[in-house]
């Protein structure tokens, strides 16, 4: 098991929408899957992410994937916690998108 912490620059979540709920949780901790918990963070300009993963040695991939996610989504002002059981980057990206969307209450 490995624990990773990231504080990444991100553009702030759109204020006009407003947060519809205190947290959002997507996914399940199961083989090849993960759960993503999104809640309020400390600063509007960053996205704080903590990852607990069963797979060791993939910190550079997490760093690259999460940096891209933070840069391309309105994730500023959020704190994200992840429990991972060896999900592929494709699944991680999909879950992050689903959880953030649900947290921001965006219309689908």
């Amino acid at each position: 098991m490995e624990k990773l912490e990231f504080t990444l620059p991100a553009c702030a979540a759109p204020a006009s929408r407003g947060f519809t709920q205190s947290f959002a949780l997507c996914g399940v901790v199961a083989s090849g899957n993960l759960e993503v918990l999104v809640g309020a963070g400390a600063a509007a300009s960053v996205c704080e992410i903590s990852v607990t993963t069963s797979a060791r040695g993939f910190a550079p991939i997490w760093q690259a994937l999460l940096s891209e996610f933070a840069a391309q989504n309105p994730a500023g002002g959020t704190r994200i916690a992840i429990n991972d059981m060896g999900a592929t980057p494709a699944v991680v990206s999909l879950r992050l998108g689903q959880a953030l969307c649900e947290y921001l209450g965006a219309e689908r």
Binding site: F23, L25, V28, V29, A30, E35, L37, S54, N83
Partner: protein, 304 residues
Amino acid sequence: MNAALPGAFTPAPSFFEATARQRVQQLLDAGSWREFLPPPTLASSPHLAALDMPGAFDDGVIIGAGLLGAKAVLVAAQEGRFMGGAVGEIHGAKIVGLLRRALAEKPAAVLLLVDSGGVRLHEANAGLIAVSEIMRAVLAARAARIAVLALIGGSCGAFGGMAIVCSLCSAVLMSEEGRLGLSGPEVIETVMGFEEFDARDRALVWRVTGGKHRYLMGDSADLVEDSSAAFRQGVLDCLGSQDTAPATLASLRATQKGLRARMTRFSSCRDGSEVWAGLGISAPQDVPLLERDALIGLKKGLPA
């Protein structure tokens, strides 16, 4: 059934496939769900952390309150995909706490959305104690005339300790996809051998433990389609008709006598289909492919 015109068939949202959170949302009146101890209130399982395994924010079960048909209910839903829905220390404590709360709140029912292989072996004694506490709490709720309903339609079914918990409930509701049995198929095969039970023969597993078999045997009060809407309707029907009188010594003796008779009657059967033939079903081989409504009709027509 909507399969009458095959070209028009579209599968309904599946209860079997949904996560525990989705099931609860779909089952209850819209917007009524209020989760107790939501993430990240609780720490993850210390036992799993000690084994260097990632835990889940809710330890694989969510508990809370909501309305179903405008009636107040308390709900626990297990997440079968997290460690096979197995009961650990925190997981079990959440369910026990919910059942104890029922004693004070007197809801119309406590709904247990069971999806579990039983005790979480990683948590050993803590898990075993947790399951026995759930059993005691179910009986305490029933003694207080609160209906406790077990809904079984997830991928893990209800096995081991959770199968016992289900059997202690006021009623069990199953979909065809659900399974109920004390020892899981793999356990039987491992202990008794491949010749005794081939756990990879999924059709056999369902003929012996699946929802249709449990319904025909009377272990499940109703058989519902694999959708949250069907489970919701099943609960409503059950709440309308449920006799909440707690068990008496006489009623338990009668149940025990019935189970003994059933064991004698079917002890030589090797397969669910042989049991069905014994029940008087003339074409037992067709049972697995029957749609739900047809099976309900079939059971009604059986000799008492």
